[in-house]
């Protein structure tokens, strides 16, 4: 997963210190670690908290994490597929 935000910086790959600190590959690696830790924490934080369920599955452990992740993946894939049908060059309506 590391390469996506990092690849832009890696394209040119000048000396690390010349880059803005936020886009240095080392910073981005560190940010991914922090992000991963935070993700783990939000899931673990559910342990001491009682989550009330209205429909059964929503009371499961880490339901919201899983549901949030999967529904977003589904929406991105759906938008991608729909894009093949609906996308047109942005000059589409200009030629009149």
């Amino acid at each position: 997963m590391n390469e996506h935000p990092a690849q832009k910086a890696a394209d040119s790959r000048p000396d690390e210190s010349e880059l803005h600190w936020l886009v240095r590959p080392s910073t981005i690696r560190r940010l991914w670690w922090i992000f991963g830790a935070v993700l783990a924490l939000t899931v673990l934080a559910q342990l001491p908290v009682e989550v009330h369920d209205y429909f059964g599955v929503d009371g499961w452990f880490a339901f919201y994490a899983l549901f949030g992740f999967l529904s977003c993946v589904a929406m991105v894939v759906f938008a991608k597929l729909l894009g093949y049908v609906l996308k047109r060059p942005d000059s589409y309506y200009d030629d009149k």
Partner: protein, 564 residues
């Protein structure tokens, strides 16, 4: 009956300001631009509940001003929006845009307090008119064309609304703004007319078509009034109509999917307006006290963070002249204030804890859970994650981070920064202290947003949505495209049918001409042959010889007469 608690409706202050703006000297304009809505704000908060100003009109009593909690709340945010929008715009916008925006906002305040359908309709059309001028103030050729499409759409919506209002007036004899039941053609027409302004399907394309063509400042005003007056009107006329649940859900996912496909930063935000209004429409459909409170709170919070997002995008547009994600990126380096304010707006729209969206939107989804509407609830939760995806991360990521575009624009002028900071602060204050907003909602609030459960579940939902964004980033590579919508029908299919029709017509007329000139020619020739100047049946005599003959006949007659 004449109620005379008030001498004039609150909207009048801003209407007068709109008239005065082009007339006064430029130095007075900022004061007028921010002072008039501020004065309106004071007046709004002085209003008691009930019908405060009415007059007789034909056989109806029209109620120019009727106040209650929810109307006051909407009018408040409309006026507040105009103050801060004015601060954002006054050094950049042309006079015509400021004046039109002021009149447009006055219309929104007017609708908020409209006690009857006739008053509502008048202010409704007032808004349509002046919002079109705001779109035109974009000044480009595309803005002119989009403005025409926008204006036509709202005129059609207005006609449909008018038909419904007349129908209701004739059938029931009452033009009161009150909850209507969907049992007649007329009430359906009212619903459809209002839904067009809410950007409901299938006529939602006008919003994402027109708003991004307005100026950097114009889009900020446009984002606030039209759709939210429609939300208020739906809330007053159609609370608890189940059809709105489904309309709302469609809008929610339409907004997300189209925003995911979009490249223009302000069009992304325009789609996300449809998405957010979808949450409100859905809440009105659910219709419980908790849901309607959620709708009112969400509309209030939404106007602030959406204007903030469009201010941030407007600032980027003003400083770089670029609007496509493919051209932008890396601007956090030199536009830190714009970036931070944009991120706060993005977090608020995503209902991140300790922002305004967290304490408002959750009421709507919670009401679906209480109502045991399983499908609706799961959809709303998935959509909440989707909001973080399409607006919460996508907008700031592609504009301020992503790649280094090489551009190093500065933060915008002080007034633009000040407007953004005020709204960003409001997003946080309302989020951290829900008590600042809850007492002003239409019903008593016993909802507690800050529980450990809500915090943990919301953070899980959003952060894992964020994870999905970065995991799926290769699939979201921006393309220089637009996405077809129902407006394809009137921007492409309609004109294509028309030009085909014209072509058929030309063809038929050419053929007819051929037939006429050929067959007709032959007819004329035959006729000419026998009756023409050279024709044996119609040789004409010269006029002279005719005179001669007349004279001869006369002489004969005279002689004859003398002889007899």
């Amino acid at each position: 009956m004449m109620t005379s608690d008030l001498i004039f409706p609150p909207a009048l202050i801003m209407i007068l300001a709109a008239i005065l703006l082009p007339l006064v000297r430029a130095t007075f304009r900022p004061a007028l631009m921010m002072g008039a809505p501020a004065l309106t704000l004071l007046m709004i908060w002085g209003l008691d509940d009930g019908v405060l100003l009415s007059a007789a009109f034909m056989n109806f009593e029209i109620q120019l001003v009727e106040a209650d909690a929810v109307r006051r709340l909407f009018a408040t945010i409309f006026a507040l929006m105009t103050v801060v929008g004015g601060l954002f715009a006054f050094r950049h916008a042309r006079v015509v845009e400021m004046s039109a925006a002021m009149a447009y906002a006055a219309g929104a305040v007017g609708v908020s307090f409209a006690g009857d359908l006739i008053t509502l309709f008048l202010f409704w059309e007032f808004m349509a008119l002046f919002s079109t001028v705001v779109v035109w103030s974009g000044g480009t050729d595309e803005a002119r064309r989009a403005g025409i499409r926008y204006g036509v759409m709202h005129l059609i919506g207005g006609i449909i609304l008018k038909i419904g209002i007349v129908g209701v007036a004739v059938q029931t004899g009452s033009i009161e703004v009150q909850a209507l039941s969907l049992d007649s053609f007329a009430t359906w027409m009212i619903l459809i007319g209002v839904l067009i302004n809410a950007a409901a399907p299938p006529l939602s394309a006008w919003l994402s078509d027109a708003y991004p063509e307005a100026s950097a400042t114009g889009a900020v005003f446009l984002s606030a009034y039209t759709t939210k007056t429609a939300v208020l009107t739906l809330l007053l006329l159609f609370p608890g109509q189940t059809v709105l649940v489904w309309v709302g859900l469609y809008m929610i996912f339409y907004g997300i999917i189209y925003a995911l496909m979009e490249n223009d930063m302000r069009r992304i935000l325009a789609y996300s307006i449809v998405n957010q209004v979808g949450f409100m429409v859905c809440g009105i459909g659910i219709g419980t006290e908790l849901a309607l409170n959620g709708v009112a709170a969400h509309a209030f919070a939404h106007i602030i963070y959406k204007a903030l997002l469009l201010m941030s995008a407007g600032a980027v547009l003003a400083q770089t002249g670029k609007r496509k994600c493919t051209d932008l990126g890396g601007l956090y380096r030199t536009m830190p204030v714009t970036a931070v304010c944009g991120i706060i707006g993005a977090l608020a729209i995503s209902s991140f804890p300790y922002t305004s969206g967290f304490i408002s939107k959750s009421m709507i989804s919670q009401s679906a859970a209480y109502g045991e509407m399983g499908f609706v609830w799961f959809s709303l939760v998935a959509a909440s994650a989707g909001v973080f995806l399409h607006a919460g991360i996508k907008f700031p990521w592609f504009v301020f981070f992503q790649k280094d575009s090489g551009m190093r624009p500065k933060d915008p002028s002080w007034n633009m920064q000040a407007a953004m900071i005020i709204f960003a602060a409001l997003c946080v204050v309302i989020g951290v202290f829900p008590g600042t907003l809850y007492p002003f909602l239409p019903y008593e609030v016993d909802y507690v947003p800050y529980t450990a459960e809500h915090l943990v579940t919301q953070l899980q939902l959003l952060l894992f949505a964020g994870l999905a964004f970065f995991v799926m980033l290769p699939m979201m590579k921006r393309t220089e495209t637009i996405s077809l919508d129902f407006d394809f029908l009137w921007r492409r299919v309609g004109p294509a049918i028309w030009s085909r029709f014209i072509r058929v017509l030309t063809f038929v007329s050419d053929r007819l001409k051929g037939v006429v000139s050929q067959q007709g020619g032959r007819l004329v020739n035959t006729w000419m042959h026998y009756h023409g100047p050279e024709g044996p049946l119609a040789r004409s005599w010269p006029t002279g010889s005719m005179l001669l003959w007349v004279t001869l006949i006369l002489v004969v007659m005279l002689i004859g007469a003398r002889l007899i």
